[in-house]
């Protein structure tokens, strides 16, 4: 999976609790992304980062925040988890962020919010 790890791989939590998902890359790529995958919706972009401390919102960013203090780590936080955030979360990386770039994906984190 292209030098990308995600942790945890599975998590069950309760409504209202904060949750942080971690994406770690060993490729030294500049761009990192968080997506969620839901049946019937494909993948939807939550947030992305174009460098350390540089982040921007994606299509479905409400209820999520991100941080990137090091090139290799990109954290996704659900500040107060809701059942609608039950999903599979994927991290992706790309080298330069130019439009011809290919994104490579991590193995995913399955999150269940009860």
């Amino acid at each position: 999976d292209a030098g990308i790890t995600q942790s945890p791989r599975h998590k069950v939590t309760e409504t209202g609790t904060p949750v942080t998902l971690r994406c770690h890359q060993t490729e030294n790529h500049r761009y990192m992304y968080w997506y969620r995958q839901d049946p019937g919706h494909g993948l939807r972009l939550i947030h992305y980062s174009y460098g350390v401390k540089d982040t921007d919102k994606g299509e479905v960013s409400d209820g999520y925040s991100v941080s990137r203090s090091k090139t290799e780590d990109f954290l996704l936080t659900l500040e107060s988890a809701t059942s609608s955030q039950t999903s599979v979360y994927f991290c992706a990386i790309s080298q330069r962020g130019v439009t011809t770039d290919t994104q490579y994906f991590g193995p995913g984190t399955r999150l269940t919010v009860l």
Binding site: G42, R44, L45, T99, T100, Q103, F105, P107
Partner: protein, 115 residues
């Protein structure tokens, strides 16, 4: 705004037969197009992409895709399907005009290859 459609939720094909997974797109400029495959409980794996040039793009695992600008399509094809090709396939598009833009994915098509 850019968008991509995969009109079939599922495609069924017998092993050894040719397969096609359909994708159509909508962008304001010339598109950059991508195909990914997802095996059960795995992340997405890159198969191929079209940026410019030859309309027939060859990718991993014997897959190829044909870019058709007049029909705004980018269908994924393989001459002879394998059972191991059974997976979820995603088409994605990026509009390169107007600065940096993110990838937009289709909803996915499940390919089932029967022995």
């Amino acid at each position: 705004a850019q968008s991509v459609a995969q009109p079939e939720d599922q495609v069924n094909v017998a092993e050894g037969n040719p397969l096609t997974v359909k994708c159509t797109y909508s962008v304001s400029g010339n598109p950059y197009l991508f195909w990914y495959v997802q095996y059960p409980n795995r992340g997405l794996q890159f198969l191929l992409k079209y940026i410019t040039g030859d309309n027939l793009v060859k990718g991993s695992y014997g897959f190829e895709a044909e870019f058709n600008k007049s029909q705004t399509s980018f269908h994924l094809k393989k001459p002879s399907a394998l059972v191991s090709d059974s997976a979820l396939y995603f088409c994605a598009v990026r509009d390169p005009t107007g600065g940096y833009s993110t990838l937009t994915f289709g909803k996915g098509t499940m390919l089932l290859v029967s022995p």
